[in-house]
């Protein structure tokens, strides 16, 4: 558990199932909802609880974010970090879109950055956002992520297609080096 100035970040537990499930709001398309085939997935609360009970899956990768009063504000995830790969995907899912422009989100980012680059010794963090996630994208860019490009009309939901943007942050970029991004952000 990491206790910060604005948040408490801790491993998610089965009892967080309802709070986490509320993040899966199908009326608000978000990259966070996408499964392996980039399809919008909405788990049931039971599935959520079952997933959070699997320590092998979530240990060290799926975290609940609470405010100082103990209310769950969202979750953050470090997906796919393995010893043989030198990158992982970061996800920051906050219930309130405006929270991405707040010290809460900055504190979550600092936690994920340390987890990825220092604890797991990764070379790169990647993130994705749909074209409607302007607040989330601005949050990523503010923390040094640069666009790798946009996959056009990648995700179908709510009766229309959404573009999916990929962003990345290299460890050497974080420490002042370049990351060699070849595609300009839109």
């Amino acid at each position: 558990m990491i206790s910060g100035k604005y948040t408490i970040i801790r491993s998610a537990e089965p009892d967080d199932a309802y709070a986490m499930w509320r993040l899966y709001d199908p009326s608000r398309p978000r990259s966070f909802l996408l499964g392996p085939s980039r399809e919008v997935m909405i788990p049931t609360q039971d599935e959520m609880r079952e997933m959070l009970a699997r320590r092998d899956v979530i240990q060290g990768s799926f975290f609940a974010i609470e405010d100082r009063a103990g209310e769950v504000l969202g979750c953050c995830v470090l997906r796919g970090a393995k010893a043989e790969s030198d990158f992982a995907e970061v996800v920051v899912a906050l219930t309130d879109e405006s929270s991405y422009d707040s010290p809460v989100a900055d504190e979550v980012y600092e936690f994920l950055k340390k987890l990825g680059f220092v604890d797991k010794k990764l070379n790169k963090l990647v993130a994705h956002c749909l074209c409607n996630e302007t607040g989330y994208r601005a949050f990523l860019v503010r923390h040094g992520f640069t666009s790798d490009g946009i996959q056009r009309e990648m995700v179908y939901t709510k009766g229309r297609y959404f573009d999916l943007e990929s962003l990345s942050l290299f460890n050497n970029a974080r420490t002042g080096g370049g990351n060699g991004s070849a595609v300009a952000a839109p």
Binding site: E39, R152, S168
Partner: protein, 182 residues
């Protein structure tokens, strides 16, 4: 002329086993790491049988054949989403058939298959920056260079950029119609 795409048959196993000697084929099958829990034979069976489930599943392999040259390579369709009507493609060509002309025909064939047979809305392929012929072939059929992942894949211990080319069906069809009318 388009190449043919077909499901692998049992006699094709000999060809696929021969390809195992090619580092590029092993990379095509296993990615950056060759340390897989599955026995190589199981991987082969996976290649042979995966297309059977393609109408339902999210991945499948098909052989590429030229009427005159025989089997020239293998196509892997993965991340197939029937909801988004999209997929990613992987393309392997045997070393003797890795020419700009066959690469170009193969790219055109597999994208046409995605749109005209699988009725997809979008198809994309990831190409190493070290494979410029593949990129040229993609751009020739109207694919858009959508993303570049810097240093994303390891080749011989060195990081190389991975380039993603995407095609929307509407663009592919319009280009084909324009080409036919020219």
């Amino acid at each position: 002329m388009d190449l043919l795409l077909r499901r692998p048959e049992r006699p094709d196993l000999d060809i696929i086993v021969d390809w195992m000697g090619d580092p590029e084929f092993r990379h095509f099958l296993f990615g950056d790491s060759e340390q897989r829990p599955q026995h190589m034979g199981q991987q082969m069976l996976g290649v042979m049988s995966s297309a059977l489930a393609l109408p339902m599943s999210s991945a499948g392999n098909l052989l590429l054949e030229d009427p005159a040259l025989g089997t020239v390579g293998l196509v892997m369709l993965h991340e197939v989403s029937w909801r988004n009507r999209s997929c990613f493609l992987g393309l392997y060509l045997a070393p003797t058939h890795r020419t700009p002309e066959i690469i170009s025909r193969a790219i055109e064939t597999v994208f046409a298959y995605c749109f005209e047979e699988l009725n997809l809305h979008r198809a994309a392929i990831r190409v190493d920056a070290t494979q410029p012929d593949y990129g040229v072939a993609c751009e020739r059929i109207g694919a858009v260079r959508e993303f570049v992942f810097p240093g994303h894949a390891m080749r011989d211990g060195k990081p190389v950029d991975v380039i993603g080319f995407g095609v929307l069906r509407v663009d592919f069809d319009a280009r084909r119609a324009a080409t036919a009318g020219a």
